[in-house]
């Protein structure tokens, strides 16, 4: 499939501050495929936290800043299905009937979730240089439902010969992050996270990989803390020494295909 030589990269606010290595790995992956990757410094956040809390005016103000930051006709690659979904699916609704509607549609049409772009547009394939490894793949709800791209992450991992990829029990179920949900309904969120973490532990995989840092923040934090009693599979509040290391898929792909 022909693809544009220049692409924008929207790093997301979570990656910017907490997981910058994941963003950097994604940009390196793209650059190595011959793309000119542009990271506009004016980018901040897609606006989803306010939007999902019902603060539409604040969400619009922040989203408008992104509309101004990605003006050219290049694809916008987003290493998070959740933020990509906000920009692709929700921006047109958020700006419907406003003066910015056209700009929002123009931006939405160019947004691609990273793994989808790698797998389907770039047809990314690289030899696996890493040792045999069992990884557990967590699909974010946005990837699975809103964006419909969850197959791409699995496809990319399947292209690495030395990986054994498994999915946890109840793989379709949400990990309980949900942005502000985790703070507003902490008990329900914790119960969901505990069940998901238990299912992940049960796979025995050494690495947990996903395409959304929100889920990874939630699951990594829960695994590191140890499962709480509210998880149905109760266990003491001590971290399991077997708990997997948490990685964004871009980091894993880069690490395993990059000869230092």
């Amino acid at each position: 499939m022909p693809h544009s030589a220049r692409v924008y990269f929207f790093g997301t606010c979570l990656i910017d501050l907490i997981f910058p290595q994941a963003g950097l790995a994604a940009m390196r992956l793209l650059r190595r495929e011959g793309l000119e990757v542009i990271f506009p410094q004016g980018q901040t956040c897609c606006g989803q936290p306010a939007y999902n809390s019902g603060y539409d005016a604040a969400a619009r103000a922040v989203a408008r800043q992104q509309l101004a930051t990605f003006p050219e006709d290049y694809p916008i690659l987003v290493p998070s299905a959740s933020c990509a979904g906000m920009m692709k699916v929700q921006y047109p609704k958020l700006f419907a009937g406003t003066a910015d509607e056209e700009r929002a549609l123009h931006l939405a049409a160019r947004v691609h979730e990273l793994t989808d772009y790698l797998a389907r547009v770039l047809d990314w394939r690289r030899p696996d240089l890493g040792p045999p490894l069992k990884v557990v793949l967590h699909h974010s709800c946005s990837a699975r439902r809103e964006m419909g791209v969850s197959g791409a992450a699995a496809d990319l991992l399947a292209r690495l010969a030395n990986l054994e990829v498994v999915e946890p029990d109840h793989t379709h179920e949400c990990c309980g992050f949900g942005g502000t949900f985790a703070v507003k309904q902490p008990e329900i969120s914790a119960a969901m996270a505990a069940d998901k973490a238990a299912a992940i532990l049960a796979t025995g995989a050494r690495v947990l990989v996903g395409q959304d840092c929100g889920c990874l923040l939630n699951l990594g934090g829960t695994l590191a803390y140890g499962l709480t009693a509210k998880g149905l599979t109760a266990s003491p509040r001590t971290p399991d020494p077997q708990a997997p290391v948490v990685k964004h898929i871009a980091e894993l792909l880069w690490e395993r295909t990059h000869a230092p």
């Binding site: 990271f39 439902r145 969901m192």
Partner: protein
Amino acid sequence: MPPEFSVRVGQALDNERLRRNIRRTMDGLVAKRRQAFPDTHELTVLRRRGKLIRGQALANLPDLLLELEANCERNGIQVHWAETAAEGNALVLDLLRRQGARRVIKGKSMVSEEMGLNHYLEAQGIQAVETDLGEFILQLAGERPSHIIAPAIHKDRGEIAALFAAHFPEYPHTEDIEGLTAIARRIMREHFGQAVAGLSGVNFAIAESGTLCLVENEGNGRLCTTAPDIHIAVCGIEKVIARLDQLPPLLTLLTRSATGQPITTYVNLISGPRREGERDGPREVHLVLLDNGRSRIHRDQQLRATLRCIRCGACMNHCPVYSRLGGHAYGTVYPGPIGSVLEPQLQGLDRQGELAEASSLCGACGEVCPVRIPLPGLLRRLRAEGVGDGPDAGVPGQGSRRKVLHRLIWSLWRQAHAHPPLYWLMTRLATRLRRLLPIGLGPWARTRTPPVIAPRSLHELARAEGFAHE
């Protein structure tokens, strides 16, 4: 006053038996639905049709209701309109009194739950006897349904056996499902034999023919609607559909989404009272059409989608929140995602607005809804109405969830993220002072190791690695 939502949540999450029961049954229903729709293309087509049929009916709601009324009356079904639950209750009471009924046998009806009918009738000296097995069990336990199609799903066999042993000591103790059902059947049969009045809900009311459709698996619904002298059907005004030929697609969507059944054991099509020369059937059939806030919901183009619901329960079966709490924690008649969308609109955001927050917006509900109600979008819309940022549809209690502190936080957030220089300053400070920030506080860190802010932001790393910025 009932305990706060957060208290009920805590109680539900701590109740391991409840959680096991709910989870097991929900997993079962999810698996059955999956098996019932092996062909995803067929499902896509069906859901599109279901949405269209229900959407069209709502677009023509006033006309269809008048058509329904005219055709029902022609069939001999007497139609009554109730604007509020109180009016509906009074209507039912009046009909029962005229009949001299001291008791009414009931098929399953969520609308009657919404009206609080049983309670109201008891206070007026009329006994309401639930004949659906699940509802019968709950009546013994003095509880409300925890699920709209499987009301006693939160109870396991052991609990039901204990309940029967306490209420019917004359029968031998059994934990066997068949045995328990046999006891219930014996008791109900007496009621069926004596009852002068029966009450039921309605799944679909067909305007062109004046027919009431009622699906069920136990046959009790058929008995309630045919054995007594008078049958009263209570029905939300949104349940109307235009034509009889629209019924089969809706029925198949309903039963397969709900329990995975291709069709229910009984499909009752009620088209009037006993006719001249007929030997059975009720002498009178009454249809009580309840508004109770529905026409207000109907006025808003987006919120109207709420009324497409055919009450299959699939959204709750697939909901990660419902499947951990069960229905009682919601504290409302309708639980789960559809309850979190409907109840704040019926009762007001000031009273039930928190339910709109009880979702991670994972989208599982919207994905399975047979009439494609965009439940996550509606939850989000209600959040916006709650904080006074929505387009305003007169949802009661609108703006009541606005809090000064929250507004302040979001306005600071907005300033920081709408102005890049401010954002750079903020992220620079955060990365440099990362070890000093009180990030480990708050509810997040009660069950999770707090995140660590990176020493350099991606903005800085991208620049350092020579990525272009425009």
